[in-house]
């Protein structure tokens, strides 16, 4: 049965492909040509629009570039400062890590649970799906800042509800002890994209797998854990990797809600927001570039770790 599911997360499937027309055009060129033609647009974009600018920024990270004057090389000064004397680097990294660790798993669990519910043949499905996606449609629109304040300030909706139970809540959004949680709630509220990807993944599970299982008289719980979940692991893996990277790079929620300040007391100062302040607020683009490359390294370590772990839990049905 499902031995065609070669959906391997991680590295591309290393498997003899018979697609290249070897018989007609012998030689390496002919073997590689079709693939490189397919990749041509990507190559142009990658070298021209991504790698080029990225290398420029790597160069800038060794300079004192201030946006307005030509950069001067300063060696490792920027990196040395990050490593030794930058409290904001540490505090913003803590904020970001906390945000990643809290928001990503919760968002994924939420998205998967809703996707499972919405994958059933019940009435009004498209409507529910659309409703659950609506918050994500709002993105980081200007209106979010007002909505969140209405929900979470001292006489906001949340406190009005708590008050019914005799609890007097703090001003969540402007209290440094809680403000980060309101951003985590925002991230979870906008669980639409992983939900859609889970739905598409669920749709790809071959129906005959379920038929076979039900003939064996397996219970629903058993079917979920023995079939749905394992077959969904490539998609779970994809969502986890992408959401983690996105959470590390999160910028707009904090920017919109705190008006770019990261306040109160830097409690919502995400790493990228700090980077942005340094680069565009204080004209230290060289330093900001160094901060960015540190972030790239940190994300890369996390991603590499997930790809390594993938071989233990992502289902390779081969």
């Amino acid at each position: 049965m499902g031995n065609q599911r070669t959906a391997i997360a991680g590295e591309p499937v290393v498997r003899i492909s018979t697609l290249a027309p070897r018989q007609k055009f012998p030689g390496a060129l002919a073997r590689n040509a079709p693939a490189y033609l397919f990749l041509l647009p990507w190559f142009i974009g990658f070298f021209g629009l991504t790698l080029g600018p990225a290398l420029v920024s790597l160069f800038l990270s060794f300079t004192d570039y201030n946006l307005l004057q030509p950069p001067h090389l300063v060696g490792l000064d920027n990196y040395a400062r990050i490593a030794t004397g930058d409290d904001k680097f540490i505090s913003s990294m803590k904020v970001t890590l906390f945000y990643v660790i809290c928001s990503v798993p919760l968002k994924l669990v939420f998205a998967l649970a809703v996707a499972l519910l919405l994958n059933r043949g019940i009435k009004g499905l498209p409507v529910y799906r659309a409703i659950f996606y609506l918050p994500s449609l709002l993105g980081s629109s200007v209106a979010i800042a007002v909505l969140w304040r209405q929900l979470f300030d001292s006489d906001g909706v949340v406190n009005t509800i708590l008050w019914q139970f005799g609890i007097e809540g703090p001003s969540w959004i402007s209290n440094p002890n809680y403000s980060l949680y309101t951003l985590i709630v925002l991230a979870i509220w906008q669980f639409g994209s992983p939900m859609i990807i889970f739905l598409a993944g669920l749709r790809q599970i071959p129906i005959d797998m379920y038929e076979a299982a039900s003939l064996d008289g397996a219970s629903k719980t058993r079917i979920f854990f023995k079939i749905t979940l394992p077959l969904l692991t490539p998609v779970i893996f994809f969502n986890a990797v992408v959401q983690t990277i996105d959470a590390f790079k999160a910028f707009t929620p904090a920017y919109v809600i705190s008006s770019g300040t990261g306040g109160p007391i830097d409690s919502t100062l995400f790493y990228t927001l700090y980077l942005y302040q340094e680069g565009f607020g204080y004209f230290r683009m060289g330093y900001a570039a160094a901060l960015a490359w540190i972030l790239v390294i940190i994300i890369a370590v996390f991603t590499a770790f997930s790809f390594l772990s993938a071989r233990y839990w992502v289902h390779y049905d081969e």
Binding site: L68, Q69, R149, P176, T261, P264
Partner: protein, 428 residues
């Protein structure tokens, strides 16, 4: 159903884009064309567009393209364009940023134009100097301005307490504000906003005590004890419930619309005089404007007149002459100046001021009166802020919040601010 894109649609799409692109490029290359970028409200945009239209009807060979943004996005955009060597010819500058841009060579020195195409000698030396950086003129004063205290007069009447007036001492200020809170006429409503994190307020307090933010040679002109004293004052107000609690003040993002007075949380907010129009526009109740509170006796002047904003020309402008001529039109030509009105502050030119005064509406008059009342009492312009000063402004807000939320004592807060502020200057 299959998802295919036929080639024709794609071609049409691409053609549309290219056409749109070409159209906007063409427009830009007509005649002597200059670009003007500013931040501000719709009111300001309308007035500025009027001035531009007037100028273009007088000078048909010049075309001016104007664009406006909100404060935050304005600076990102300006920085990106300047970095790309594509800065707009005409730049509305803020007093806080002019040093950053001028010292990095991004702005045109107006000195050669003085008394030629830029006839601003009737500004008075102080108002001309306010656009100077390191001896060269990089900005032309668009409006005279000073710090000010906005007061919700209705709320004070309602509570039956006499509102603070010009010359109220800091101690009386605290007492009356506490009285207003005690009157409890409205739900969670306080006497004043907490200004401990507001740099201009701190600066005023320092200057009244013979200190300042920065010395002439770019070092700190205050110490940890001064800062601690400032934090002490506000901690006392917080205790007396004269000012809003910390978690309320933290909602104030130092903009008009998030200020405590506009949010209906307090009767008083610390601001700038040219913002009076903006504050009144979104506050239904009648506002008044008074000067900063003063120390008990023998106070030195804390406030000073500074440009609400300045006009600068980009150093890379290809049409610098035309741009300078337009700047002159805005500040010295009665037509241009009338179009702008006092929305950017009271004009620096005496001639223009006299011409505008009869036509001013009530708000404009109040603003002009305030500046007139203040003028004999103000001190001199402080020395130019050194590089890194901008960061200190934001840092004061952070430390003040740490004190307000009880994470630092006032002494610890004072020490932390003084120490880190000095370090920021060193880094530049």
């Amino acid at each position: 159903m299959t998802f295919t894109i036929d080639r024709r649609q794609f071609l049409i799409g691409t053609a549309t884009t290219l056409a749109l692109g070409a159209a906007s490029l063409n427009r830009a290359s007509a005649a002597t064309s200059i670009r003007f970028l500013w931040w501000g409200s719709k009111e300001r945009a309308d007035r500025t567009h009027n001035a531009m239209t007037l100028y273009q009807s007088k000078n048909p060979d010049v075309s001016i393209e104007g664009e406006s943004f909100g404060w935050d996005n304005y600076w990102t955009r300006l920085a990106t364009q300047a970095a790309g060597g594509n800065a707009p010819d005409l730049i509305q500058m803020d007093y806080r940023y002019i040093f950053e841009y001028a010292r990095r060579g991004a702005l045109l020195d107006f000195t050669p134009y003085l008394d030629k195409s830029l006839k601003i000698s009737d500004f008075g030396q102080a108002n001309i100097d306010s656009g100077k950086v390191d001896g060269k003129l990089y900005g032309v004063n668009l409006g005279v301005n000073s710090s000010a205290v906005m007061v919700n007069t209705i709320a004070w009447k309602e509570a039956g307490v006499d509102a603070p007036t010009n010359g109220t001492t800091w101690d009386d200020f605290a007492e009356t504000c506490a009285k207003l809170t005690k009157a409890k006429k409205r739900r969670s409503f306080y006497g004043t906003a907490d200004a401990s994190g507001l740099e201009p307020a701190f600066e005023g307090w320092l200057r009244q005590r013979g200190k300042a933010l920065y010395t002439n040679d770019g070092n700190l002109a205050f110490d940890a004890k001064d800062t601690a004293g400032w934090f002490d004052y506000w901690s006392k107000l917080r205790e007396m419930e004269a000012c809003v609690p910390a978690d309320m003040q933290a909602l104030d993002q130092q903009t008009i619309e998030t200020s405590m007075i506009s949010q209906g949380k307090a009767t008083i907010s610390f601001a700038h005089s040219n913002q009076f129009v903006g504050y009144q526009a979104i506050n239904k109740e009648k506002l008044g404007m008074i000067s900063y509170p003063v120390p008990a006796d023998d106070a030195k002047p804390g406030q000073y007149l500074k440009p609400s904003m300045l006009m600068s020309v980009s150093a890379t402008s290809k049409n610098a002459d035309a741009a300078v001529a337009f700047v002159n039109f805005l500040v010295e030509d009665p037509d241009g100046a009338k179009a702008l009105g006092v929305e950017r502050g009271v004009p620096a030119s005496e001639k223009i001021r006299n011409e505008l005064t009869p036509d001013l509406d009530d708000l404009g008059k109040e603003m002009a009166d305030y500046i007139q009342m203040l003028t004999p009492k103000v001190g001199t312009l402080p020395p130019p802020p050194p590089n890194g000063a901008g960061e200190n402004g934001f840092f004061l807000k952070k430390v003040a919040e740490e004190v307000a939320f009880g994470k630092l004592s006032t002494d610890e807060g004072g020490a932390k601010f003084a120490e880190q502020a000095a370090a920021n200057l060193k880094r530049g």
